[in-house]
Symmetry: C2
Subunit: 293 residues, 2 copies
């Protein structure tokens, strides 16, 4: 059993982007620029955004952090997004979710230009991805592809079972894994809460993507020997033995499942770190697209 080490691969992606960014600097070209918008003081959101901004600075990207109080109006937010849309120097825009309930998430997502939509949440980005056109892939599923690619996992003709059909993970990864490309060309089954024979279907999976958000859901009796298991879950569980008061659990019962796998992602340190790598990749691509345009 080998670990799909998201920390290591994320660092490898960042190292490569750093070298490419230094090369651009030498050539006097524009440097990639990510603008992150953070609303309110949600702890998890603060951590995510801080980590994204820090990663930018590590690899030589420009980043701008724009903060708004919880009470910001939708209008103010839309105004700022339009400014960022029109700012030539900004390549990628991300608005950290979730948003306060008085702001329409959909409206915010659809306001960001698809050419700057490095989170890949705009319907046009999703549609382009589905149709096999150049597009920004949403960060988490894109991160999974980068991980599979790094470990040269064979995907062609394999049966991938995706548990979960969310817009941000299950749905897009199921589409990506069945496209005519590498990683891809899998036979893909999408399972969800209405799948009556989930264990039976999981047992067919050469690759299993667990993205349902139920801690330690996937057990060894649902996994075929030699399967590749990717755990997208990150649930905080109260844990008095930890200083923080909680521990992070994935959707896979790791200790039970790991011995049966050929490859498995740990939680934390698997898919999580890859999402930032994917976001940075998208930002870099948004920047170099301007070289050509």
């Amino acid at each position: 059993m080998e670990i799909l080490d998201g920390k290591l691969v994320s660092q490898a992606v960042k190292d490569k982007l750093k070298a490419q960014t230094e090369e651009r600097k030498k050539q006097g070209k524009k440097l990639p620029h990510l603008a992150a918008v953070l609303i309110g003081n949600n702890g998890a959101s603060e951590t995510y955004v801080a980590s994204k901004v820090k990663s930018c600075s590590e690899i030589g990207f420009t980043s701008t952090l724009i903060r708004f109080p919880q009470e910001v109006t939708e209008e103010e937010l839309l105004f700022k997004l339009n400014e960022l849309n029109d700012d030539f120097d900004v390549d990628g825009i991300l608005v950290q979710l979730p948003l306060p309930s008085h702001i329409s998430e959909q409206k915010i997502i659809e306001t960001i230009y698809p050419t700057k939509d490095v989170d890949g949440f705009h319907p046009e980005s999703v549609g382009r991805m589905v149709q096999g056109l150049p597009a920004f892939y949403p960060a988490t599923p894109y991160g999974i592809l980068l991980l599979l690619e790094h470990y040269k996992i064979e995907t062609k003709g394999k049966h991938a079972v995706v548990i979960g059909r969310s817009n941000i993970v299950g749905r897009p990864i199921s589409i990506m894994l069945s496209k005519n490309d590498y990683p891809g060309n899998c036979t893909v089954t999408v399972c969800h809460s209405h799948t009556p024979n989930l264990a039976e279907i999981c047992l067919q999976g050469d690759i299993i993507i667990a993205a349902l958000g139920k801690p330690e859901f996937l057990k060894s009796n649902m996994v075929k020997p030699g399967a590749v298991v990717v755990d997208v879950g990150i649930t905080r569980i109260t844990d008095s033995t930890k200083k923080s008061g909680f521990s992070i659990k994935g959707d896979v019962d790791y200790d039970d499942v790991a011995p049966k796998c050929s490859y498995i992602t740990p939680v934390p340190g698997g898919v999580g770190p890859m999402t930032i790598a994917a976001l940075l990749m998208n930002t870099f691509k948004a920047c170099i697209a301007k070289d050509i345009a």
Copy 2:
């Protein structure tokens, strides 16, 4: 075994739309208006467009047929599409595919406003469909849903096997059948040319959608007793016994498979007529969306 009769259901959809259109007329409301663009003299395209225009007139929709010679430039075509986009009276625009090779299909598709994209081919339409937002569904898969709905076929918790991953049928129907709705909530497996164990997977299907474009591909030994089989194939086969010189074959070996099914679509007369019904539904929806806007 019961036949999923596309002719009958298509007529039922049209009758309903006709009644609703008459009602709108009585109320002095705007009538649905479809603009169809036809380029060159391809026989099949002529037939399809003529049939769409005829259906419009039968149910009281306004329709406009715009013809261009094979040599039309991309610029001329784009100019016309922009005119149609800006014409308030036009609710739906369709450009009959395929296009001459000197015109970019993608550019044409992306020029039509998503609000008038009744063929559902614009990336934004596809993305909205994937994300579960109100959207125009592409006609063929939408027609399949209307067919399943008419016969009240249970889909929740069923295993749907989709053979084919094309942008116009396989991919969208696989997404639609797994969404949290009716028809939907299926466990869905997408198979394609790289699926090594296709027969084994088809045998799990409570519902099989054959959309690979290989005449009489699906045989009875690939079908579970009681399955619902939907045949999307329409291939012309040379046939000297027919006046026309050809006959139309589906992707399902009908005589072999039908006795094993609970429901099956014939070819012709199954999915084919439903695509027009779906297009008319989309045009009607585009029209009533303006009542609200």
